[in-house]
C-alpha cells in the first residue's frame, strides 16, 4: 500500500520532468528559429513562428521539433547541418501514407519522381498544421476547394502533367450549387473536392466513373433510390455503361440547381441534354430508341414557347419524369397511355381522355396525322396560287397603265372623257 502511495508522486514528477526537458528542446530550436531575419546560406528564411507552432495540432499534442526532424535528435552541436532529411509523416500517419501512395498524387511522386505532385505538406502545411476540424485548416471543407485549386486551376501545371484534367474544369466547381452552399451558407456538409474524389486515396477518372451514382447517393439517397428504379438506373446496376450517370445530365464540377439558367437541367438546356443520347444514331439502333424526339418537341407549341423564353411550358422532364424515367410500356410511367391524361392534367387542369389522344412527338408525317398533313399541303397550294394571282394581276395592272399612258391614253390624267 505505502509503495503505491509513493508511486503516484514519483510518476507525476517524471511526467513533469519529461515535459520540461522536451520544452527545453523546442526552446533551444527557437533561440535561433524564432528570428524573422534568420536566413540560410541560400538566403531562404529559417523563421518558424513560435506562436503559430504552439497553436498547431502537433505542439498541442506535446510533440517536439525532433519528433518530425528525427535527424536532429540528440544533436548538441549548434548550428546544426543545413540540409535536413525530408520529414516522413508515415511514422505516425501510416494509414494516410498508404492511401496516398496508391493515389494519383502518390503514384506520380513515387513512380515518376514528380516533384509537382501534392505531398502531405502541400495540403496540410508543415509547422502550423491545424486539426481538420479547425476552420483555419487548409483542408477544412470551406478552404479545401482553394487548396486543391492552387494546383488544379494552374494552367501551366495542367499542360505539364497529363491526367491532371483541364484547369478550367475544376474551377467550374466554384460556380456550382455545392460551392455556393459552402461559401454563402457555410454548409460544411456540402460536397467539396474530397467528398467525391476522396482525400488521400484520390483515384484516376476511369476508376472513379463507374461509382458516380453511389458517390452522389451518399448524400442524395432519395434520388439514388429513384434513379435505380428508373430505366437508366436499373441498367446501370446491371453494369450497362451506355446509360447516363448523374454527371451526364448534371455536369461534373459545374452542378447547378435546376432553376439556374446556366444549369444543364434548366428547362432551357434540358432538351439538348436528353438528346445527346436520344438523338444518337448508334444508341438508337442498339436499344431501339425512337429518333426525332428533339425536333418534334421543338416544333410543338411547347418547344416554340420554350425557345422564346417561356419556362413554364412542358419540357422532357415534365412528362417523362427525370430520375426515375420509365419506358411508356411501364404501367408506372407518366407517359403510359393509361396515365397520359393525368400527366397532361398537371398543367392543363381537367384535361380528359380526348386531350391525351393522338401522337405527341409528331414531325408532320402523313401517317402521324393525315388531316394535318392534307391541310398543310392544301394551304401551301392555296397560298402559292393566291400570291401568284395577286402578283400577276398587279403586274398586269401596272403594265396596262403604263401602256395606256405612253399610247397617249388619258386614263391616267383624270376622269374626263373626250367625246
Amino acid at each position: 500500500m505505502t509503495r503505491r502511495i509513493l508511486l503516484l508522486p514519483v510518476l507525476l514528477l517524471l511526467i513533469v520532468l519529461a515535459a520540461t526537458l522536451h520544452g527545453q528542446d523546442t526552446a533551444v530550436c527557437f533561440e535561433c528559429h524564432n528570428d524573422q531575419s534568420a536566413t540560410g546560406s541560400r538566403g531562404d528564411t529559417l523563421y518558424v513562428d513560435s506562436e503559430r507552432w504552439t497553436a498547431s495540432v502537433h505542439a498541442q499534442a506535446g510533440l517536439e521539433c525532433t519528433a518530425c526532424h528525427q535527424d536532429l535528435a540528440g544533436v548538441t552541436d549548434w548550428p546544426h547541418p543545413e540540409s535536413l532529411k525530408k520529414v516522413d509523416c508515415s511514422a505516425c500517419h501510416d494509414k494516410a501514407m498508404l492511401d496516398w501512395t496508391g493515389s494519383v498524387h502518390g503514384k506520380a511522386a513515387h513512380d515518376k519522381g514528380d516533384l509537382d505532385a501534392a505531398g502531405c505538406a502541400d495540403c496540410h502545411g508543415s509547422h502550423y498544421i491545424l486539426p481538420v476540424k479547425d476552420p483555419q485548416s487548409p483542408v477544412y471543407p470551406s478552404n479545401l476547394p482553394a487548396t486543391c485549386l492552387r494546383c488544379h486551376a494552374d494552367s501551366s501545371l495542367g499542360l505539364k502533367h497529363e491526367g491532371m484534367g483541364k484547369p478550367e474544369k475544376a474551377s467550374l466547381y466554384l460556380g456550382s450549387v455545392h460551392a455556393q452552399a459552402l461559401e454563402k451558407r457555410g454548409l460544411v456538409i456540402s460536397a467539396t473536392c474530397s467528398s467525391c474524389h476522396g482525400s488521400h486515396s484520390i483515384q484516376p477518372l476511369d476508376k472513379f466513373l463507374a461509382g458516380i451514382p453511389r458517390t452522389c447517393g451518399e448524400c442524395h439517397a432519395g434520388i439514388y433510390r429513384d434513379y435505380v428504379e428508373g430505366v437508366h438506373g436499373a441498367e446501370y446496376l446491371k453494369g450497362n455503361r451506355d446509360v447516363p450517370l448523374c454527371t451526364d445530365c448534371h455536369g461534373e464540377h459545374d452542378i447547378r440547381p435546376p432553376d439556374d439558367p446556366e444549369s444543364r437541367v434548366n428547362p432551357r438546356q434540358l432538351a439538348q441534354v436528353c438528346s445527346r443520347c436520344h438523338e444518337d444514331q448508334s444508341l438508337s439502333a442498339k436499344y431501339g430508341l425512337p429518333l426525332g424526339r428533339l425536333d418534334s418537341y421543338l416544333t410543338s407549341y411547347h418547344g416554340v414557347a420554350l425557345k422564346l423564353g417561356d419556362m413554364r411550358v412542358a419540357n422532357c422532364a415534365s412528362c417523362h419524369g427525370f430520375h426515375n424515367i420509365r419506358p411508356s410500356s411501364d404501367p408506372k410511367s407518366p407517359v403510359n397511355p393509361a396515365n397520359l391524361a393525368a400527366t397532361c392534367g398537371k398543367c392543363h387542369p381537367n384535361a380528359g381522355e380526348n386531350f391525351a389522344k393522338g401522337k405527341i412527338h409528331v414531325q408532320g408525317q402523313p401517317h402521324e396525322n393525315l388531316g394535318a398533313w392534307l391541310v398543310k399541303r392544301a394551304y401551301v397550294l392555296l397560298i402559292l396560287a393566291l400570291v401568284g394571282g395577286f402578283v400577276g394581276y398587279i403586274t398586269l395592272d401596272l403594265a396596262a397603265r403604263r401602256r395606256r399612258r405612253t399610247q397617249g391614253g388619258d386614263k391616267e390624267e383624270g376622269p374626263e372623257k373626250k367625246p
Partner: protein, 267 residues
C-alpha cells in the same frame, strides 16, 4: 334590288365648301381602325411562333417575361377583333347604312363578267374598263376574304386558347389540325393584306401614297364618277335636284357626259 328611299340621304357631304361622296361613315371607319389595329397586333405577336428559330424573332424576345407579354397582347387583340366582328355582324344586319352596304356587297354573275372585262381591258383587247357599282369585284373579294379570315382565325384561335374545353368536343389530333390552320391562315391573311390590300389602297398609282378614305371617309366625286359610275349615277337619281345641280356645277368639265347620267338636273 331597289335602293331604299333614304339610302343616299347622308352620302353627299360638304367639307370646306366642296361636295364629296361619303364612302365610309364614322362608325365604319372606327370598325376599320379596330380591325387593322387588332390585325397588326395579332400578326406581330403571332408570327414569331411560326418563325421561332430565326434570330430576328429571338431578338424580339430579349427581356424577361417577353413571351408571356406576347400571349397577353395576342389575346387582348383577339378579343378586340372578336368584339369588332360581332358588332359588324349586327351593324350590317340592323343598321340602315350597314345593311345598304351589305346589299351592294352581294356577289352576282355581273362581278364575274366584270372581272373578265377588266382583264381584257388590261390586256388591251377592249378600250373601255367595266363600269363598276358601289363595290367592284376586287373590293368584294377583299371584304369576303377579311370576313372569312376573321371567322376562321377567331374560331381556331378560341380552340387553341381553351384546348381542354375544345377537346371535350373532339380529340386532340383535331386540335393539331386546328393549329396548322391557325398558322397557315395567318400567313395567308398577312400576305393578302401586305400584297393585295397594300397595292389597292397605297401603292396603286391611282391613290399613291395612300388613299385617305379610311381616315375621313370622303371620296372625290371625280374618283367616284370614274371608278364607280353606276353608284355615281344612282346617287344623282336619289338626291334632291338642287344638290344634283351643285354636283354638276362643282365637277364642271369633269362631269361625265353622255346618256349614262339620267336624272342629273341642270340648272
Amino acid at each position: 334590288m331597289s335602293a331604299r328611299e333614304d339610302e343616299y340621304a347622308d352620302r353627299l357631304v360638304e367639307h370646306e365648301g366642296r361636295l364629296y361622296y361619303q364612302r365610309f361613315s364614322v362608325v365604319q371607319r372606327v370598325q376599320h381602325i379596330l380591325l387593322f389595329s387588332s390585325f397588326f397586333a395579332l400578326i406581330a405577336t403571332g408570327m414569331p411562333l411560326l418563325f421561332a428559330g430565326s434570330p430576328l424573332v429571338r431578338h424580339m424576345f430579349f427581356f424577361e417575361g417577353a413571351y408571356e407579354l406576347r400571349g397577353l397582347i395576342h389575346r387582348v387583340a383577339a378579343v378586340v377583333l372578336l368584339a369588332a366582328s360581332v358588332f359588324h355582324v349586327f351593324y350590317v344586319l340592323f343598321s340602315v347604312r350597314g345593311n345598304s352596304d351589305l346589299r351592294r356587297m352581294v356577289v352576282w354573275i355581273d362581278d364575274i363578267r366584270q372581272a373578265f372585262a377588266m382583264l381584257s381591258f388590261n390586256l388591251g383587247r377592249s378600250g373601255e374598263p367595266p363600269r363598276f357599282d358601289r363595290f367592284n369585284f376586287i373590293e368584294k373579294f377583299e371584304y369576303y376574304a377579311a370576313a372569312w379570315g376573321s371567322a376562321i382565325m377567331l374560331a381556331t384561335g378560341a380552340c387553341l386558347w381553351f384546348p381542354v374545353q375544345a377537346t371535350l368536343v373532339f380529340p386532340r389530333p383535331v386540335l393539331d389540325i386546328i393549329r396548322v390552320i391557325h398558322g397557315f391562315e395567318a400567313i395567308l391573311a398577312f400576305l393578302a393584306v401586305i400584297i393585295w390590300h397594300m397595292y389597292n389602297v397605297h401603292l396603286n398609282p391611282e391613290v399613291f401614297p395612300m388613299s385617305r378614305v379610311w381616315m375621313n371617309g370622303r371620296m372625290e366625286l371625280e374618283h367616284l364618277a370614274e371608278h364607280h359610275p353606276l353608284e355615281f349615277e344612282r346617287m344623282l337619281r336619289h338626291i334632291p335636284a338642287d344638290m344634283a345641280g351643285r354636283v354638276r356645277a362643282q365637277m364642271g368639265v369633269h362631269f361625265p357626259s353622255g346618256p349614262t347620267v339620267s336624272g342629273a338636273v341642270t340648272t
